[in-house]
Chain length 223, copies 2
C-alpha cells in the first residue's frame, strides 16, 4: 500500500460492519465507523478500541463519525446498512464517493420471510447500488454470506467471500481487503452475478434454522 | 426402501445425467436412461453397463428408452436436459409423472454468456418446472452446482448439493438420492429459493475460467 488506507464503514455500528471493522483494524488499517447518529458511532468506536490489536499488540486505529463525513474522508467505503436503507443511504453519500471504491454488502432480505429469496427490481442489490452511485464509482459487492457473529468472535473464519464488480483494475484491492478480514476472496464476475450470493443468504438462513448454526460456504475444487 | 426404486433420467445421455446414472447404479438402484433417440439411450446404457459396479461387484442395473417411456416406467424422474429444452421436455412427460417425484436440474444458462447470471421469467427454473408439471407432481430441484466431469470420474466427490422443494414428505427421498450419488444434501428451502443455486452455476463457471478447474461448493459451519 502506498499510504495507510482509510476504510469507511457506512452503517458500521451493525453486526457485519463492526465485525469487519475489528478485523480490519487488527490488520493495521485505519477504520472509520459511520452511523446516522454520531453517539452510536462513537460508542461502537470506543467499544472496539478497548480490544487490543490481536496481531501487533498496537492500539487499533478507529475513528467515528456520521455516515456522510466518514464516507467523505475514507479512501474506500463499505456499506453495511439494512436492505431497506440501501438506496437512501447510497444517495446520501453519492457525491462524496465519486471515483472511490464502494463495496456494497446489501442482501435483499424482506422480513419476516428472510429465508425466502427475493429478487430485487434490478436483478441484484449490487446493480441498484451501481445505478444510484453512477459510472464513476467503482462499485463492488461482497461479504453477503459471512456470519456476522463469527466475524466478531475473532476466531479463524471458515468461509469464503464471493466478490462481484466490473472494474478489473480495482478488483485486487477488494481482494486484499477480504484477505485482511481473514477470508479467501473469489471473483464471481460482474455486478449482475451478485444475485447468486445475495440469494444464497436466504438459503443459508434456511439451513441455519435447521442446524441451529451459522452456516457459510467454501468454494472447493480450485486447487 | 420398500421395493427397488427405478430412477428415470430424462436426458440421461448428457454429462450430468450419465454421471448420476453411474453413481446411482453403483448404489444398487435400477436406472433408466432416457433420450429423444432410442439409439442414443441404448448406446449410453451399454457404455455404462461395461463398468462393473464399484461397490458390490454386481452388474449395474441399467435400462434404456425414450424419455416418455422411461418417465412412465420410473418411480422417480430426474430431468437433466439443456435449459432451452426444459419446458418442452417437461410438457412431454407431464401426464406420466403425475403423483411422482420429479427432480429438475435446470440451470438458466444462456450461451454464449454462460458466466453471466440470467434470471428466468418465473424467478427460478425450478418454479417453471412446477408451473408446467402442476400441483400433483412433487417437484424438487438439485444438482445445479455439481461438476459433471467429477461425477463421471467415480472418485469421491468434494461438494455438497442444495435441494429445493416444497413437499416436506417427499424431501427425505430426494436427500437419500443425493447421498446415494455420493454427496451431502442440504435443504435450501422452497422452489423459489432454487435461483440461488441456479445463479451460482454461472458464478462457478466464472471461477472455473480463472482457475482452470471444476469448482463446487461446500456448506460449512453446520457442525
Amino acid at each position: 500500500m502506498i499510504k495507510p488506507l482509510k476504510i469507511g464503514i457506512v452503517g458500521g455500528t451493525g453486526a457485519l460492519g463492526s465485525g469487519l471493522a475489528a478485523r480490519w483494524a487488527d490488520a493495521g488499517l485505519h477504520v472509520l465507523i459511520g452511523s446516522r447518529r454520531i453517539e452510536s458511532a462513537q460508542e461502537m468506536s470506543n467499544k472496539l478500541l478497548q480490544v487490543k490489536n490481536g496481531k501487533a499488540g498496537d492500539p487499533r486505529r478507529i475513528s467515528a463519525g456520521l455516515n456522510f463525513d466518514i464516507a467523505s474522508e475514507a479512501d474506500i467505503v463499505v456499506v453495511t446498512v439494512p436492505y431497506d436503507q440501501q438506496e437512501g443511504t447510497l444517495q446520501s453519500i453519492r457525491d462524496v464517493v465519486q471515483g472511490k471504491i464502494v463495496i456494497d454488502t446489501s442482501v435483499p432480505l424482506v422480513p419476516p420471510k428472510v429465508g425466502t429469496v427475493q429478487i430485487p427490481k434490478n436483478g441484484a442489490a449490487a446493480v441498484t447500488a451501481k445505478f444510484v452511485l453512477g459510472e464513476e464509482v467503482k462499485v463492488f459487492s461482497a461479504f453477503h454470506n459471512v456470519a456476522a457473529d463469527k466475524l466478531q468472535s475473532m476466531e479463524p473464519l471458515d468461509c469464503d467471500v464471493l466478490v462481484f464488480g466490473d472494474d478489473k483494475e480495482a478488483r485486487p484491492i477488494v481482494t486484499a481487503l477480504v484477505e485482511d478480514a481473514g477470508m479467501r476472496a473469489f471473483n464471481g464476475g460482474g455486478l449482475a452475478n451478485s444475485i447468486a450470493a445475495e440469494a444464497l443468504t436466504s438459503v443459508l438462513i434456511t439451513i441455519n434454522r435447521q442446524y441451529k448454526c451459522q452456516a457459510g460456504i467454501r468454494i472447493v475444487g480450485t486447487e
